[in-house]
Amino acid sequence: MSDVDAVANADAILWDVVVVGGGPAGLAAAIAAYDDGAKKVLVVEREKELGGILNQCVHNGFGLRRFQEELTGPEYAGRFIDELSKREIAVELEATVLDVGQAEDPAAPTVVRFVSPTRGFKEVRSKTVVLATGCRERPRGAIGAPGDRPSGVFTAGAAQKYVNREGEMIGRKVVILGSGDIGLIMARRLTLEGAKVLAVVELMPYSNGLTRNIVQCLQDFDIPLYLSHTVTRVVGKRRVEKIVVSKVDEKRAPIPGTEIEFDCDTLLLSVGLIPENEVARGAGVELDRRTKGPIVTQNRETTIPNVFSCGNALHVHDLVDFVSEEAEIAGRAAAARALGKSSVPKNLVEATNGARVNYVAPQKIDLDALDDETAFFLRVSNVFQDKKLVVKCGDETIKEIKRRRVAPAEMERVTLSRDALLAARGRKIVVSLED
C-alpha cells in the first residue's frame, strides 16, 4: 500500500475511483474496481479502522451465503481487509468526506473534499466516486415516548459500540424497544455481560428478527418478548428508573389500562435504520423517498453522472453478503467508466413498487449497459402467506414467483433477463405482491 500511499499526497494525481466509506460495501467496491482494471483506487474512511459497523458486530451469522461459513462481523470484514491489502489500493483513515462535487474538466469530472488530522483539508480529483457511507440508527426522537428525559436511554447500535468496542457496561436492568435483529442480539449480549434484560417490546404483532435470534437470544435466556406493545412512558430524574409499557390496538395506539411497569435503569431503542446520505445530498444526488437512499441504475449509478452508491447507504440490507454483492456491481461499473468502457446512461426504463411492496431498487435500468441477468431488491409491506411476486411491464406480466411466506424484514430478490428488460423500452416495470 505504501507506494500508492505516498502518491495520495501528490495533489496532481487523478484517481480512477474514490470510494467514500471503508465498511464492507466500500471494501468490496474498491477491490472489485481494482480487479476490473482501475489501478488508481482510493478509499476514504472516517474512523481509525476499516470494516465499518462490522467491527462492533462481534456475534456470528455473517457470510453464510458468500463463504458457506458462519463468520463473526470482524472475521467477515477481516477477509476483505486482507484482500484489500494484497492490492495497491490507497487508504485514508480518520478522513471525513465533507462533500463530493462536479468539475468542469471532462477527464476528471468529480472532486472529493475531506478533512483528516494528518492531511488537514484536502481536495482530490477523480474520474468516478462510489458512495458507501452506510446507515445510521433512528434516534430517540423517532419514538416520541412522553415522560422525563433522563440518561440511560441508548440506541441499540450505540450500546453495541460501548460494550463491544470500548468495554463499557451501559446498565444493569434493561428494557429493549424493538425486536429486529440488532435489538435481539443486544438482549443476549447484555445478558452475557451480566445485565438483566427484563423485556423486549415490539410494536408490531410479529418480530422483525430471524427465528434463530428469537430462539438463541431470547428463549435461551428466558427473556420475555411483548408483541403488540410499546413504551408509553419513561420515568426517572437523572437516570432511567422506570419504563411503562402498554399494549397497542390494531391501529398501534396504546390501550389505556394495559400498562406494565418495569423497574430498570436502561432503555435501548432498536427502532430502525436510515441510509446515511449527507454527502450524497450535498452532491445533488436525487434520493428515493421510499428507500431514503439515492435513485440508481442497475449499475448503482446515481442521478449525478459518475457518482455511484452501494450498501446500506443505498438501501438498508439485512445481510452483509448482499451488501458485498451490490458493492461489487458498483465497483465494477465505476472501473468501467473510469477506463472509458461505458458512458453516462441515456436510455432508461423505470422500475417501481406496486401493491404490497414498499420499494424496489434499482429504480432505473440503463438499457445500454445490461448484463444477462439483472437483480432487483425489494421489501414487502407486511407479513403475508402464500402470495406471488408479480413483475409487470405495462399490462403485460413478465414474471411470477410463488412465495410461501414473505416479511418486511426479509429482503426479496427478483431477477429479470436482458431480453425482458430490452422489451420494456418505453414502458415502466412494476413489482407487486398478489394473490
Partner: protein, 119 residues
C-alpha cells in the same frame, strides 16, 4: 414420556417440532436437517459463544477490546461459566485472527479464538 418443544433455527421457515429424546422421534420437522437439529437440541444443545476480551498494555492499562469466539459450539449449559473465564482474561498485542486466547475452555476440548487482528 418427555416431549420437548423445539423451534427449528436451521432455516428461516422455523418449523415447530416436538421431540421425544428417549424414543428418538421428532414430529413437525419438514426435513432431515431440521430433525437432526431437533434431536441435538433435546439431548445436547450447543452454542457458539461470541464475546470480547480486554487487551491491555505492559502496565495493565486498557487499550482495546478483542472480539473472540469459541472455535466450535460448546454445551449451552456452560455458556455463563465460559463467560466468567473469558471476562477475567487480559491479553496483549500482537493478536492475530485465529489465535487461541483460551485453550480447551472448561475442558470442552474447544479453544476460544480471536476474530480480528491487532498488530
Amino acid at each position: 414420556m418427555s416431549l420437548q418443544k423445539v423451534t427449528c433455527v436451521v432455516c428461516p421457515r422455523g418449523c415447530q417440532m416436538e421431540v421425544d429424546a428417549e424414543a428418538g422421534t421428532v414430529v413437525g420437522a419438514s426435513c432431515p436437517r431440521g430433525r437432526a437439529h431437533g434431536l441435538a437440541e433435546a439431548t445436547n444443545p450447543t452454542r457458539t459463544l461470541t464475546t470480547t476480551v480486554r487487551i491491555v498494555d505492559a502496565s495493565g492499562e486498557f487499550v482495546d477490546m478483542a472480539p473472540v469466539r469459541t472455535a466450535a459450539p460448546i454445551p449451552k449449559g456452560k455458556i455463563f461459566d465460559a463467560m466468567k473465564t473469558i471476562k477475567a482474561l487480559r491479553v496483549q498485542k500482537p493478536i492475530r485472527r485465529g489465535d487461541a486466547l483460551v485453550k480447551n475452555i472448561l475442558d470442552t476440548g474447544v479453544d476460544v479464538v480471536a476474530t480480528r487482528d491487532f498488530p
